[in-house]
Symmetry: C2
Subunit: 370 residues, 2 copies
C-alpha cells in the first residue's frame, strides 16, 4: 500500500499477477482495475460529467494538450478547475500533452529543454517543457498528473529510442520536482518508454521506480503493433513496474487487451475505443461487435445486447438505433456511446470480480470474441 | 367538452379568449395550452423519447413525410408503432406530410387526386393522396392525424389560394372518411388554410367545423410574415375555430407568438425553434436570447439562466457551454437543446397558470423580450 498523503492504493485481492484494489487521490476513489474513458476536450462526447460518474466510472482521462490550447488552462482554473468545469466528481487524470505534441501538432522541434510545435488549431507556436506541462496540469486541477515524455515514432530504431528514453528520464525528474513544488496533495505518475526493447524498458522502469512517483505508467504500447504483440509486450513490461504502486497502461485498449493486461497486473487504462467506436456505429457486445448501420438490423426489434442495462438496450430496438444512424440523428451516436461505455464498465466489473472475488466470473467470452 | 370516444377535451379555466384544459386521446393526456416539440425523424435530436416526457412534454409532433420515406411506415408499424419505436409514452401528433411535400420535395405535381413528387433523399417518385396520407399515419400509429392539405407558397395570389382552399376542403373530407375507416380510437384534425384572406379562412373554417373532425388547426400562418402580422392573423383566425374543440396553430413559434396565440384561444403548438436554435447555440432566457458562442461568455461562471432547472443551468457555466460549442463537442448542442425545451415548457406552465389559475403569473417579460 502506498499512502503518502497524496495517493492511497490498497490491494484487496490477487490472482496470480492480477490484483484488485482501490485508488484514492484527494478523497476521490476508484476501484481498480479501472477503465478511464477519455474526455479529450473536457467532455465525454455527449455524456455530461455527472452522468459519466453515474454510469460507474470513478476516473477519467482529460487531455492537457487540447485543454491547454482551448479553452486554455487559465480559463479552466478561473472557473474552479476541471472537476467543476465539466461537473465530474470522480478522479481526473491528465496526460502531459506530450503524446499529442508528437502525433497531432505541426512542425515539432525537440531539444533537451522541451519541445516547440505549432498548434493544430491555429498554427500558433507553442513551447512545452516539463515544468510547463506540470503547471498546465496543476492549473487544470487534475488529481493525477502525468510526466512529459518524448514519444518516438513506432518505427524508430534502437538509438533513437534510447535517446528518447534518456531525455524522458531527465524530463521525468524535472516534472517530479516541478510537481512537488506546485502541490502536496495531487499525484504524479512517471511513464516508462523504450519501445519494444525489454532492456531499455527495464532500465527506465528501474530508474523511475527509484524516484518518488505515486504510480508508474507504460507508454508507447499499442501504437500500431499486432494484437498478439501488444499482449506479449504488456505481459513482459507490466511486471517491471513496482508492485506497490498503481500501474497504468496508457491508450489501451480492446476488451481482450484489457483482460490480458489485467492478468499481467495492470490497474488503470484509458482508451477512446468505446466512445469513438460508438460514434461510428460499432457497438460492443459479448457476442462480438454489432455494426448498427447494417441493413440486417432494419427491422430487428431486439436490443443491441440482451441484459445490458444501458438506456439504448433497455428502451430501444436495434431497428431504432439503425434508423437514427442512417438518418444522421445525433441521438444515435449518443446512445451508442453510452452503450459502449456501459459495456466497458461491465467488463471491468467482471474482471474485478474474477480476481479473487466471491464468485469468479466466466470471462471466456472475452478470449472468444476479441 | 368533446368526448366522442376518440378525444376528450376538457376546458377547466378561461381568461377572455384564452382557455386552459386537458386533451386526452387513447388514454394519453396533455395539459393545454401545450407546446409540442418536433421529433422530425422520430427523434428529438439528442433527447431520448422517455426523457422528452420526463422534461414535461405530454405531446410531440412527428413528421409523416420524413418517417414515411425513412425508415418507412411499415418498418415502424412492424416494430409496434411510433410510441414504442421512439420510446415516448405521451401523445403523438403526426402531420400529413403535405407541408414538407410543398416545401422540401423536388418536382412536385398537384392534381385533384393528390400530389406526386420526388423524394429529397434519393429522387424516387412518390405519390401522396389524402387516403395514403391517412394510411401512413395509421401505420405510424400516431394518436392525432392531420389531414393532407395543399399549401400554396407565401406570395400566392387570391385565386391560387382560393383554388388551394377548395382542393384542401375536398381532400379534408376524403381524409376524414379514410381515417374513420381505419380507426375508431385515433383522432383526426382538419386544417384551415386560406392565406391571409379572412373571408377564405372563415369559409374554410365553417366548412371544416361542420364535419366530424376531433379538432381544427390553422395552417399557413408564420410562413414568412412579420411578427406583428403573425399576431394579427392569429388573433383574427383563432376565433373562427369552434370553441368546443381543440385548436392547433401549426409551426408556431416564438415565445411572444405563443403568448399572443394563447391569448387568442389556441390550445396546441408545434415548432422546431427550441431544438433548432439550441443546436445552433441560441439559448432562450427570460432576459432575451443568449448567443453562447460569444466571447463574452468565455470566462463566465454563471449559468445560462439563473433559476432554470435544466441540466445545463444546474450543473454548468456559460463558459463551459461556450467551450463545448467552440470545440465542436456534441454535448454543447445537446445541453442547449435541453435548456431550450425546458424554457418552452416553463413558458407554457406560466401561460397555463396565467389563465384563471390560483396565482396569475407575471408574463410581462414575454412582451418585453420577444
Amino acid at each position: 500500500m502506498v499512502s503518502g498523503g497524496r495517493v492511497e492504493f490498497r490491494v484487496v485481492a490477487r490472482r496470480a499477477a492480477a490484483r484488485r484494489g482501490e485508488l484514492t487521490v484527494r478523497g476521490r476513489t476508484t476501484p481498480t482495475p479501472a477503465f478511464m474513458p477519455v474526455a479529450t476536450q473536457g467532455a465525454l462526447k455527449g455524456i455530461p460529467g455527472r452522468r459519466v460518474a453515474e454510469l460507474g466510472f470513478g476516473a477519467l482521462l482529460a487531455n492537457t494538450y487540447h485543454l491547454g490550447l482551448r479553452p486554455g488552462e487559465e480559463v479552466v482554473r478561473s472557473l474552479g478547475g476541471l472537476h467543476r468545469f465539466m461537473d465530474y466528481p470522480g478522479l481526473i487524470v491528465t496526460d502531459s500533452g506530450g503524446f499529442q505534441v508528437f502525433s497531432l501538432a505541426q512542425r515539432r522541434a525537440v531539444d533537451d529543454g522541451g519541445v516547440t510545435f505549432r498548434s493544430h488549431l491555429d498554427g500558433a507556436a507553442v513551447r512545452l517543457t516539463p515544468e510547463r506541462a506540470m503547471a498546465i496540469q496543476h492549473a487544470l486541477d487534475s488529481d493525477v498528473a502525468m510526466v512529459l515524455d518524448e514519444c518516438p515514432p513506432a518505427g524508430a530504431g534502437r538509438m533513437e529510442v534510447a535517446a528518447a528514453v534518456a531525455r524522458s528520464l531527465d524530463w521525468a525528474s524535472r516534472c517530479l520536482a516541478a510537481h512537488r513544488a506546485l502541490s502536496d496533495d495531487r499525484a504524479v505518475f512517471g511513464i516508462v518508454q523504450g519501445g519494444r526493447d525489454a532492456l531499455l524498458r527495464r532500465e527506465m522502469a528501474d530508474a523511475l521506480a527509484a524516484l518518488d512517483f505515486d504510480g508508474l505508467a507504460l507508454g508507447g504500447v499499442a501504437v500500431g503493433e499486432e494484437a498478439a504483440t501488444i499482449r506479449d509486450e504488456v505481459e513482459s513490461f507490466a511486471g517491471m513496474l513496482p508492485a506497490g504502486r498503481p500501474r497504468y497502461l496508457m491508450g489501451v485498449g480492446s476488451p481482450r487487451e484489457l483482460a490480458a493486461a489485467v492478468r499481467a497486473g495492470i490497474d488503470l487504462f484509458d482508451c477512446v475505443l468505446p466512445t469513438r467506436n460508438g460514434r461510428n456505429g460499432f457497438l460492443f457486445t459479448r457476442d462480438g461487435v454489432v455494426k448498427i448501420r447494417n441493413a440486417a438490423h432494419a427491422r430487428d426489434p431486439a436490443p443491441v445486447e440482451a441484459g445490458c442495462p444501458c438506456a439504448a438496450c433497455t428502451n430501444h430496438s436495434r431497428a431504432y438505433l439503425r434508423h437514427l444512424f442512417v438518418a444522421d440523428e445525433m441521438l444515435g451516436p449518443l446512445l451508442a456511446t453510452e452503450h459502449n461505455l456501459v459495456f466497458f464498465r461491465r467488463l471491468m466489473d467482471d474482471l474485478r470480480l474474477a480476481i479473487g472475488g466471491d464468485a469468479p466470473a466466466d470471462l471466456g467470452w472475452i478470449e472468444q470474441r476479441y
